[in-house]
């Protein structure tokens, strides 16, 4: 969602998005592993600190000459490589895990249904974050101004919206979401210096699937891809996993190139 928001408002194609998630993950790992801070306390710390990193990125990108889209691609790619090497220097190439208590919160053995504490935390926090961003974008004046900037920057500027400030806010909100995603990523996957590339790729795929700046569609697109992959593994085997995801992506691009829940009249 952070990637989609930043891309929608600023047109900056942030290839260092995954590395920023990994940065937040490493920060949470360092707090949890070296300073023995409970995992749940690492979430607010990352949520507060990551916007500083994304605002720094905004400051850097503002200085780019035209063509902005292409130059932002090159600069963020360079930043991604730089961050990877910094991770390598500070954390070595080791794979790092944040281990949470393994108690299941829901277990129905007869139905083969089990929800672990980790899964429950991930789902509830991602739902809460999506809900809050949705409310912010649809119920506040600032959010509506952000959506207007996503739809048409020139039109928004003519209507009196300060596009520069909107970009700053988009990077700030994007940073907050990355700050939340990082520790959750570390507690569900593993951290390693090159681990951000896949996260960037997933963010790009979900943004293409859902459409830019559409919160409900982003959630729907993410869950649709995840469920389709899991069902493919369960029913026809792991070899089909990537093929199914690629098929869905191609179908959406052909059927709904503006996004999964787009309407011809405009934004949802």
């Amino acid at each position: 969602m952070g990637f989609s928001l930043i891309f929608g408002v600023t047109h900056a194609f942030n290839l260092a998005h995954g590395e920023l998630i990994v940065l937040a993950g490493y920060l949470a790992y360092a707090l949890w592993h070296f300073w023995h801070i409970p995992f749940y306390w690492t979430l607010p710390v990352c949520i507060l600190l990551l916007p500083v990193a994304t605002l720094g990125l905004h400051w850097l990108l503002r200085r780019l000459p035209a063509p902005f889209e292409l130059n932002s691609l090159v600069v963020t790619f360079g930043l991604a490589i730089m961050l990877q090497n910094l991770f390598l220097a500070f954390f070595s190439a080791d794979f790092r895990l944040i281990m949470l208590p393994a108690a299941p919160v829901l277990d129905f053995p007869d139905l083969s249904i089990m929800v672990t504490a980790n899964q429950a935390l991930l789902v509830s926090l991602s739902l809460a974050a999506t809900g809050l961003v949705h409310l912010f974008l649809h119920r506040t004046f600032l959010g509506k101004a952000l959506r207007a900037t996503i739809q048409n920057r020139e039109g928004a500027a003519l209507a009196g919206i300060r596009v520069g400030q909107m970009q700053l806010i988009a990077f700030g909100v994007g940073g907050t979401l990355i700050g939340l995603a990082g520790p959750l990523f570390a507690s569900n996957m593993y951290l390693y210096p090159a681990g951000g590339m896949e996260a960037t790729l997933i963010a790009i795929i979900i943004t293409i699937t859902a459409g830019v700046g559409r919160t409900r569609s982003l959630l729907l697109g993410g869950w649709l891809l995840g469920l389709a992959e899991s069902l493919a593994v369960l029913l026809i085997g792991t070899s089909w996993r990537e093929l199914i995801s690629a098929g869905i992506l191609l179908a959406i691009l052909l059927w709904r190139p503006e996004g999964i829940s787009s309407r011809k009249t405009g934004i949802t």
Binding site: F95, M114, Y190, P193, A194, E198, L234, T238
Partner: protein, 422 residues
């Protein structure tokens, strides 16, 4: 223009003939002697000149963890050789390259080392998808390549006279198969493996071995390295009532698998992974979640080939002083590969022969070394004759050898959640 050129050639020809006529018989003899001496000296490196070796490893990217470990093992062996005066008076220069965990980059780096840097031998490599292209390129150039971590059978069956490796598939599959049949005796086994040549071959051979003995393999699935979620596969294993889960995944895959196994409380009797479990780092990351898990290793600071305890301890001490951390089984594979190549080069130099690819390969083929990882001899194909891994289990945060019995350091905990030995 043409005439000027012809005239110039004619003048040169006259000048040369005059020079040749002016040489006495003694002068000719001296000239021939100088040529002979030069050709003799040219057969090996000049006295004290460095012997250049190339190492290609994944130092960045997905495989960086093990690539760096192999690289450190190679560096340790080269520094050890230089510390004792080099090879027959020649210092060894190691040129290290990063293949970024990508076969295309591995090929470019190999070309650079062979054609521009003119190394006399190649070392390193992790996983067959990277080792394969390097071995083909090295063979084309006629340069020996000793791979540190390669398993795929076809690589040594291609008749490549310049390819050698210190590990092989049978050294992994045979002890694991015997351990399962003799000690675990499961009814149903689930095998998960990655879409890499070595892992696929491992899984296929193990499946054949177990199926021959009547063991059912209801779950036999391939996954992409770096898969983020195994919960569906674990659900399948649970529903099928599998006793044993064997993972052909690498270190990060096994970290995730073990964590999700613990989170989902999958009722397995044992979890075994040949790659990635027998590491202190694995225990450090999973903590209590690693207890009872099994893996394979060829060496570890506390697990050494009988008769090499002193050499093993000395290596651990030197390595810790140099790199500030303990070596592991992957490091030892890198060290062993480098020791083999260095020993072969030293043999060639000792015989005052030119340092050519065929001469080094011949000496590699006749090597017989006793190293901490075991006895090292190569067969005609370049495979190690005596490579055998042992089965280890994580017990109270330590790696204990549980198979074969003659090397066991602890009792087997079976089934997985058993708090006490079997």
């Amino acid at each position: 223009m043409t005439g000027e050129v012809c005239g110039a050639q004619g003048d040169n020809g006259l000048h040369k003939r005059a020079l040749l006529r002016g040489w006495s018989q003694a002068g000719w003899r001296r000239y021939i002697w100088v040529l002979l001496v030069c050709s003799f000296l040219g057969s090996g490196p000049a006295w004290g000149a460095a012997i250049r070796l190339g190492a290609i490893n994944p130092l960045t990217g997905n495989l960086a963890l093990h690539g760096i470990e192999i690289h450190q093992g190679i560096v340790a062996a080269v520094e050890e050789a230089n510390a004792r005066g080099g090879l027959q008076g020649h210092p060894v220069e190691l040129l290290s390259r990063d293949d970024q965990s990508r076969p295309d980059v591995a090929l470019n780096q190999t070309q650079d080392l062979l054609y521009r840097e003119k190394v006399v031998g190649l070392l390193g490599g992790y996983v067959d998808s990277l080792v394969g292209p390097i071995s083909t390129m090295a063979a084309r150039h006629g340069t020996p390549y000793v791979a540190a971590a390669s398993l795929q059978q076809s690589l040594t069956e291609q008749g490549n006279p310049f390819f050698f490796r210190v590990s092989c598939m049978s050294g992994v599959v045979k002890p694991l198969g015997r351990f399962i049949l003799e000690r675990l005796k499961p009814a149903k086994v689930a095998i998960l493996y990655t879409a890499t040549p070595g892992s696929t071959e491992f899984a296929t051979r193990l499946k054949e071995m177990l199926a021959e003995q009547g063991i059912a393999i209801p779950l036999f699935e391939k996954f992409r390295p770096g898969t983020p979620d195994f919960s569906v596969l674990l659900l399948k294993a649970r529903e099928q009532g599998d006793d044993l889960l064997i993972s052909g995944g690498f270190f990060p895959d096994n970290l995730l698998l073990a964590r999700q196994l613990r989170e989902q409380r999958t009722p397995l009797k044992a979890f075994i992974a040949p790659w990635g479990v027998a590491y202190e780092k694995f225990i450090r990351e999973l903590r209590q979640g690693s207890e009872g898990l099994m893996g394979l290793c060829a060496w570890n600071p506390g697990i050494t080939y009988p008769g090499t305890e002193t050499a093993s301890q000395a290596f651990v001490k030197r390595f810790q002083e140099r790199f500030g951390q303990a070596p592991n089984t992957t490091t030892m594979h890198g060290y062993t590969a480098a020791r083999a190549l260095l020993a072969a080069i030293e043999q060639v130099l000792g015989k005052k022969e030119p340092l050519s690819g065929p001469a080094i390969s011949r000496e590699l083929r006749s090597l017989d070394l006793l190293l901490p990882m075991g006895r090292l001899r190569f067969d005609e194909k370049g495979d190690p004759l005596d490579y055998r891994q042992v089965i280890v289990q994580i017990q109270q945060g330590k790696l204990q050898v549980v198979y074969p019995p003659e090397r066991a350091t602890g009792e087997l905990w079976y089934p997985l959640n058993a708090a006490s030995p079997q």
